[in-house]
């Protein structure tokens, strides 16, 4: 048996049950080889140590504490208020929300546009009327809404106009 054969065998032991159950003749060949070959003997130690240490990390086959099930349930019930949606339900809900928001934004824009147009038209009509009719200051004040439509206000404006015309 060559060093290569022996090391191949040793490496396989690290993963399996080890050299237990090895036929005595084969075992003797390997033991004798290890007594004479330092490199294979070291490989044997490395693999044996690997097996010992990895096996040591194996946790005890303990059952979970019965109270743990209750704790898991309690946490589940905390998060249970959130409904579980399927993928297509999420897609449908998202699409519906997008359409709804789109319609609302459209309506809002239309409304704003109509309002702005109405205000602009009213203003423009008012200004045009002033320009065309060459209204007196008193009328302008009344139309512009800067003076209350009171007899005193109109009289004051007319008096001021008379003074200026003289």
């Amino acid at each position: 048996m060559t060093c290569r054969d022996i090391r191949k065998r040793i490496r396989a032991w690290a993963r399996s049950a080890g050299p237990e159950g090895l036929p005595s003749a084969e075992r003797e060949v390997i033991v004798n080889h290890l007594l004479r070959c330092a490199a294979c003997e070291e490989e044997m130690r490395v693999m044996a140590l690997k097996r010992v240490l990895l096996q040591a990390t194996r946790g005890a086959e303990a059952d979970p504490d019965p109270a743990l099930y209750a704790r898991v349930s309690a946490r589940l019930r905390e998060s249970w208020t959130r409904p579980v949606f399927s993928f297509w339900e999420v897609v449908r809900a998202t699409a519906a929300s997008v359409v709804l928001v789109g319609v609302l934004v459209f309506l809002l824009l239309v409304g704003v546009n109509v309002y702005i147009n109405r205000i602009a038209t009213e203003r423009w009509d008012f200004i045009s009327a002033l320009m065309e009719r060459n209204l007196s200051e008193a009328e302008r004040l009344v139309f512009a809404g800067e003076e209350e439509l009171s007899p005193e206000g109109v009289l004051t404006a007319l008096a001021s106009e008379l003074r200026e015309s003289r």
């Binding site: 048996m1 060559t2 060093c3 290569r4 090391r7 032991w13 690290a14 993963r15 399996s16 080890g18 050299p19 033991v31 080889h33 290890l34 007594l35 004479r36 070959c37 330092a38 490199a39 294979c40 003997e41 070291e42 490989e43 044997m44 130690r45 490395v46 693999m47 044996a48 140590l49 690997k50 097996r51 010992v52 240490l53 990895l54 096996q55 040591a56 990390t57 194996r58 946790g59 005890a60 086959e61 303990a62 059952d63 979970p64 504490d65 743990l68 099930y69 704790r71 898991v72 349930s73 946490r75 589940l76 019930r77 998060s79 249970w80 409904p83 579980v84 949606f85 399927s86 993928f87």
Partner: protein, 219 residues
């Protein structure tokens, strides 16, 4: 007229359907049915009961949140075990990794355990497994110097005897990825172990390499 066994004990798929419809008690039946298996998966990587409990809690919460992704007709247990394995992997990634393993990291007792173990004939070390807390501590420190991926494949393949195909399926990795990881993990762990053996054990004398036909020295 009496109920049949299948009517008394609902199967996994039925319980999943009921859970999706908002029946929390149906999901709790699944928790009780597979709690032990999930706890055992956590035990492959973590010995501390608190850690195992965290993994179990996280696994069932993730399973509940991802219940709509469970494919009808597939094994619920296998689907759940994948979630548990990934929860363990995430936890391994969160754990602080040591930069390198050194004998100076060992306590006096741990070092004594190591020296005594290595003083034995190699065959005896292989055959007489000694479970001790010192061995566990040495192993934990050694494994903490590996990357999470290396640690995971070493434990699953070398210790638990899973095949590369089984590891690939559990982790959602390709088989070639598992093989590459395994190769790297072995190289990293063996390098550390070889150094440990050389440092903890005085030179054994004048044994030479045996020159046999066809023999090949390792590095």
């Amino acid at each position: 007229m009496h109920n049949s066994a299948s009517e008394l004990v609902p199967d996994d798929e039925e319980l999943v359907e009921r859970s999706l419809a908002g029946d929390v008690e149906a999901f709790e039946v699944l928790v009780r049915r597979y709690g032990r298996a999930v706890y055992a998966v956590a035990g492959r990587f973590f010995r501390q009961p608190e850690m195992r409990e965290d993994i179990m809690q996280e696994t069932f919460l993730k399973a509940y949140q991802a219940l709509h992704t469970y494919r009808r007709g597939a094994s619920f247990e296998r689907w759940l075990m994948k979630i548990a394995m990934n929860a363990c992997y995430d936890e391994l990634r969160r754990m602080k990794r040591r930069r390198e393993f050194s004998l100076a990291d060992l306590t006096e007792d741990e070092r004594t355990w190591l020296e005594e173990a290595l003083a034995k004939p190699a065959f005896e070390l292989f055959e007489r497994q000694q479970q001790s807390e010192d061995a566990v501590a040495v192993a934990e420190k050694l494994l903490a110097s590996l990357s999470p991926e290396d640690r995971l494949v070493m434990l699953l393949y070398e210790r638990d005897g899973l095949s590369t195909a089984e590891i690939g399926e559990l982790m959602g990795w390709s088989r070639s990825k598992v093989k590459i990881r395994l190769f790297r993990a072995r190289r990293a762990l063996d390098k550390r172990l070889r150094r440990m053996v050389r440092m903890a054990r005085p030179a054994s004398g004048s044994k030479a390499h045996v020159d046999e036909p066809g023999s090949r020295r390792s590095e």
